[in-house]
Amino acid sequence: MTAVRFWNRRRREAGLGYLMLVPSLLVFSVFVFYPFLRNFYLGFFRTPPFPGLPQRYVGFDQYREILTSSAFSNSMRVTIVFALLTVPTGIILGLVLAMLANQQLRGIGWYRTIFSSTVATSVAVASVIFGTLLNPQVGLLPWLGISTTPSILENPKYALLAVAVTTIWQNLGLSFIVMSSGLQAIPDEIIEASEVDGAGPVPRFLRVTLPLLSPTVFFAVVVGSIVAFQSFGQIDLLTQGGPLQKTNVLTYAIYTALRGEQNEGKAAVLSVALFLVTLVLTIAQMRILERRVHYGD
């Protein structure tokens, strides 16, 4: 009798729960799930060379063709190098600044403000600043007496590095804030205990601070990688994917496919590829890195 009543109540509560999920499911369906499936479907159609002609169904042919092309593997390589250049450096620099600012000193508030200030700049602002700094005619380099031909942003060797530096600078404020909050969440007494227990600064950092900071670092790695894989503004403003495709990251390739080549099918395939790559990367990070993360008690 009571068991029956219990299950009835369980069922009623579950029903209510699903009912409350309906609005968000509806919104997600319209703006996320449907467009995503539609995009995947779009990849099955070859976009005609001239507008007005009918689209031709080619199934997985277009996927196979694009994903095995050298242009795609170049974009993949550039994207991965870009992420490797920006994410670890950004996190390490943010952590170094956060450690420096995590002290009780007079005027430390000014440093904190300065260190976090880039969070208030947009990608566009950062790009303009670095575009100007690296400009061979009016920038910092000629002022320093360094002449660059071709200019750094047009030099296949350095263009990606320059875009990466711009990105690191622009993200540094956020990285500093995230790392600072992580550091401040570590109880002072634990650090003090390790001091009394005889640990010098380096072992203290490696054995106590860093493990306790691991959830923050993990978060920064996962989110930072996703952001890096989706970077677009600085590429568009500084290099437009050039020189010689050396900065043509996936997002920029999607953009050129859609806007330049007017090739919806190709853009759809590349979008699906970007989604899958990001998904796999995030799952892999969760599987591999999260084992080393300590989430406190």
């Binding site: 634990i190 003090e192 390790s194 009394v196 227990d197 005889g198 640990a199 010098g200």
Partner: protein, 364 residues
């Protein structure tokens, strides 16, 4: 083990003086309790000994070495924190091992030391657990084990029992005393709990507003408080204090209180004359007062608190603050609101300077 000496130690934070000219010598193998209300500077004093705070002025020596400029890790001390400060990402064994690892003790020597410390505190079955999987009492033991795994010159303990529930606190208190005796360790123990101070310390050092008030064995401090602050801080319930004066009438020395006059020995007159302004405060502990129909002091019973084995008769004498009389449970119980007469044991009467608060005694 070693002596710890604080020599005219002062700590200022901006305009606030947390510790003011503190002089204290902790003997080798002594259990010294630093006692005082929150904000009295006792924790700051302990943290200066640990090296977690710098000194504004003065000198601290551990053993034969002045440690003012020595890093905490090189001071050869162990500290137990109020929050235990266990390393949450390490197992119990790793936590206990940490001070040894940090000091580069070889691994084959570490393991038996960890085992021994764990055995001493009953943690042998918990070595693989993480701190989050332990109860408050168990965490406290891990913190203690981490402190005793090495034989440091001194143990510093900052309110280590205050996060435990009342029952566990009493039990752990006894275990801590036993541990200190067994290790023959120098312990400096900070607490705001006067019961802990009375029961645990060889000596108590009482602080208020950054200033050391009195140092001495618990019984001495209880029986001869150096000033009004100590008198009112030590003892539960604390010492009763009321305004009074000493008068001599017809060759007899009388102690005048708002509730009546008490005949006292002549020495009281000599003591009272040492008061800076002539005004005095009379102090009597609750156990030195009794309800007696022929007693000299008139009072009105406000409330009676029964504790089972004894009761506290809370009385009002004139307009003075409340006065507590300790009664055994088998004594006749006065009615609340009734008038009673009280008698004080003359040996239990203390005199203090009403302005400076200093204890007044007749010159020997």
């Amino acid at each position: 083990m070693a002596r710890v000496v604080l020599d005219h130690v002062t700590k200022r934070f901006g305009d606030v003086t947390a510790v003011d000219d503190l002089c204290l010598e902790v003997e080798d193998r002594e259990f010294l309790v630093l006692l005082g209300p929150s904000g009295c500077g006792k924790s700051t004093a302990l943290r200066m000994i640990a090296g977690l705070e710098s000194l504004t002025d003065g000198r601290i020596a551990i053993g034969d070495r002045v440690v003012n400029d020595v890093e905490p890790k090189d001071r050869d001390i162990a500290m137990v924190f109020q929050s235990y400060a266990l390393y949450p990402h390490m197992s119990v064994a790793r936590n206990i091992e940490f001070p040894l690892r940090s000091r580069k003790v070889p691994e084959d020597e570490r393991t038996p030391l960890v085992q021994e410390a764990a055995r001493a505190l009953g943690l042998t079955d918990l070595l693989d657990r993480k701190p989050a999987q332990l109860s408050g009492g168990q965490r406290q033991r891990v913190a203690l084990a981490r402190a005793i795994v090495r034989r440091p010159a001194a143990f510093l303990m900052d309110e280590p029992l205050s996060n435990l529930d009342a029952k566990l606190r009493v039990q752990t208190r006894a275990e801590l005393i036993e541990l200190q005796r067994r290790l023959d360790a120098t312990v400096i123990y900070v607490t705001h709990d006067q019961v802990e101070a009375m029961t645990m310390g060889h000596r108590i050092a009482i602080m208020n507003d950054g200033v050391l008030q009195q140092v001495g064995p618990p019984q001495d401090v209880y029986e001869r408080p150096a000033n009004l602050f100590v008198a009112r801080f030590i003892g539960a319930p604390p010492m009763n204090t009321i305004q009074g004066s000493v008068v001599v009438e017809g060759g007899e020395t009388l102690l005048a209180t708002p509730g009546g006059r008490i005949a006292v020995p002549d020495a009281f007159g000599a003591a009272a004359r040492r008061s800076s302004t002539g005004e005095i405060v009379v102090g009597v502990r609750p156990e030195h007062l009794e309800v007696d129909p022929s007693g000299p002091i008139e009072a009105r019973v406000a409330v009676i608190e029964s504790l089972g084995h004894e009761r506290h008769v809370v009385c009002r004498i004139g307009d003075e603050p409340l006065v507590i009389v300790r009664q055994a449970a088998d004594e006749p119980r006065p009615a609340e609101g009734s008038s009673v007469r009280l008698r004080a044991e003359v040996e239990g009467i203390h005199l203090f300077d009403a302005v400076t608060g200093v204890r007044l005694e007749a010159p020997a």
